[in-house]
Amino acid sequence: MSELRWNPTLEQWTITATHRQNRTFLPPADFCPLCPTKPGAPEEYVTDVPASSYDIAIIENKFPSLKTPAAVPVVEGTDLYPVAPSDGVCEVVLYTQEHNSTLTQQPLYRLERLIRVWQERYTDLGSRPEVDYVFIFENKGKVIGVTIDHPHGQIYAYPFVPPTAKTELEAARKHLEKTGRRLWDDIVAAEIEDGRRIVAQNDTWIAFIPFYARYPYEVHLMPKRPVSKITDLTEAERWDMARNLKTVLQKLDNLFGFSMPYMMVMHQAPTDGGEYDFYRFHIEFYVPHRTETKLKYLAGSESGAGVFINDTLPEEKAAELRKVEPVTE
C-alpha cells in the first residue's frame, strides 16, 4: 500500500510504501531478477526481464513507491494532515545485462546510448498528466542501501516537484530577479575563473566539486551552456556528457582502488508546464566515503538540523581527483 502524507511542519510529502518492506533483498547472482531470462527457462525462472538478451531495458519497479493508478489511501486526510494518492511511475534502468559490470565499465558509446534513453524517458514520463517531475538517479553499493547487485539506475516520476528541486528553482528565480543573470551561469563562470575545484572538463561539459559541497567527493557535472533539461542537449553535448561522466566515474573508482559506491542524481526542469529556462540541468554525485576506510554519516546536524558538516575542503578534494588517472581496471 502506498500514499502521500503531507508534513505541515516541513511543507513536503512523505510517501508511505509498506509493500516495499518485502522487496527483494540481495538475492544470489544465480537468482538475479535483473539478469535476462535464460533461454528455455521454466516459468518460475523467468526474471523481471523476460528477453534472453537486451541492449538497454526499462522495467516497471516490482515494488513501486509511486504507481498509476494509485491505490486508495488507507487513511483519510484532514485539513491538518492532507493525504493524496501516490500516482506516478517508478522504473528500473538496466544499461547492461552483465551482472558484475558497473556504469564506469560501460564503453563511451553505450553511455551515449543510455543518455538517449534517459532523454526518451524524460519526454515520455514528463508528458503524462500526473507527472510533475522526472527524477533520474542511480544508487550504487551496499553501503548506500542497494538491495540488488545487478548494476541498474532508477527513475521516479513524481506527481509533485520534490523539495530539493523546489529550493533550487526558488534560489535560481531569486538570483535572476536580483541580478538579471542565471544562477548556474554565475556558478560555472566562478568555478572556471577560480579553477581550484574543477575535476574535469571538455568543450561543452564541466565537472567540479562546488564551493558549497556537503560531501568530500561531491562532484557536480553540467553543460557549460544554459540547458534546463536533458532533452535540450545537442548531439555534441550528449557525447561530451558521456565523456565527462565516464571520466568522473573512472576517477572515483581509481581514487581508492575499489569500485566507488555513490548516489548519482540528476536535477532538471520540472514537467509541470512551467517555464524554467533560468535553471540548469546537472548531475550531482554523493560519495559516502570521506577516506578510503571511513564513511561520512548523516548524523544529528545533517539529519536533524539540515546542516551538513564537511570535514574537508572542496579545493583539496578536487585536486586529489584531478590527479587520479581516468582509466578503467
Binding site: D55, A57, I59, E60, P107, L108, Y109, R113, V117
Partner: protein, 39 residues
C-alpha cells in the same frame, strides 16, 4: 534507436531499446572502450 514495449502477466511494462540499426563504434582508445590502459 528502436523502442519495443511488452507487458508482463502482472501488467508491468518492459521497454527494450535496441541499437541494431546503428554501427558499433570501433574502439579507438581506452575512453571509447572502457578497457584498461597503462597509467
Amino acid at each position: 534507436m528502436t523502442k519495443t514495449v511488452t507487458k508482463r502477466d502482472d501488467g508491468r511494462a518492459t521497454i527494450y531499446y535496441s541499437f541494431d540499426d546503428e554501427p558499433e563504434p570501433q574502439p579507438a582508445n581506452a575512453e571509447e572502450t572502457g578497457k584498461a590502459v597503462p597509467a
